[in-house]
Symmetry: C2
Subunit: 123 residues, 2 copies
């Protein structure tokens, strides 16, 4: 049961190395074929299933940071329920406004985006 | 160790009845003295502890309905965390603006209070 040593004349070691390289290549190809998780699922560290309600609105790259604010202020479950009750063609607008409100609340915990309303009303 | 029977000449039974009545009266007085739960705890069906973070802002009568909207949109836990990070003397303003945002989001699930901002900007 001795490990084959480098430079062995036998073909066993070479075959084994080629097999390992092929396996690595196949794994890399499979990883490339699988689409990356959406920003929300990346943030939540969960599997991004086909038909994920967040995927169309939170891209894999910058979506995670945007989702972090939404998650902190509203919670993933509340936003998911909200989107489920909105027609598909209007969900993107809802995500934009929810993200805006979340960002505003993180910037100004007391007034949130209501500060903008008050400022506009005073103009 | 026999139980005293009704109509016994001895004073034991009467004393016990008076004791039970006194206990009931004391329990009723204690219940009346306990303040009712705040609107948030009433909605959440939980014991309203002394120092409840919601109690100063959600009254027992109309607070429950107002808290229902806040709970549906933001979640009790998120609002509790938000309030904990705001100085006590500014929490009431935060509750007012959070309630406003929640009501607006329930009325207009797509735009929420952002519709007011857009309308004011177009004026």
């Amino acid at each position: 049961m001795a490990e084959p040593q480098r430079g062995d004349a036998g073909g066993g070691s070479g075959t084994r190395r080629r097999g390992a390289a092929a396996k690595r290549a196949m794994a890399a190809a499979a990883a490339a074929a699988t689409s990356p998780p959406c920003g929300a699922c990346k943030f939540l560290r969960r599997k991004c299933i086909s038909g994920c309600i967040f995927a169309p609105h939170f891209g894999s790259d910058q979506g995670a940071a945007r989702f972090a604010a939404v998650h902190k202020v509203f919670g993933a479950s509340n936003v998911s329920k909200l989107l489920l009750h909105i027609p598909v063609n209007r969900r993107h607008e809802a995500v934009v406004t929810v993200s805006y409100e979340a960002q505003a609340r993180l910037s100004d915990p007391v007034y949130g985006c209501v500060s903008t309303i008050l400022a506009l009303q005073q103009q």
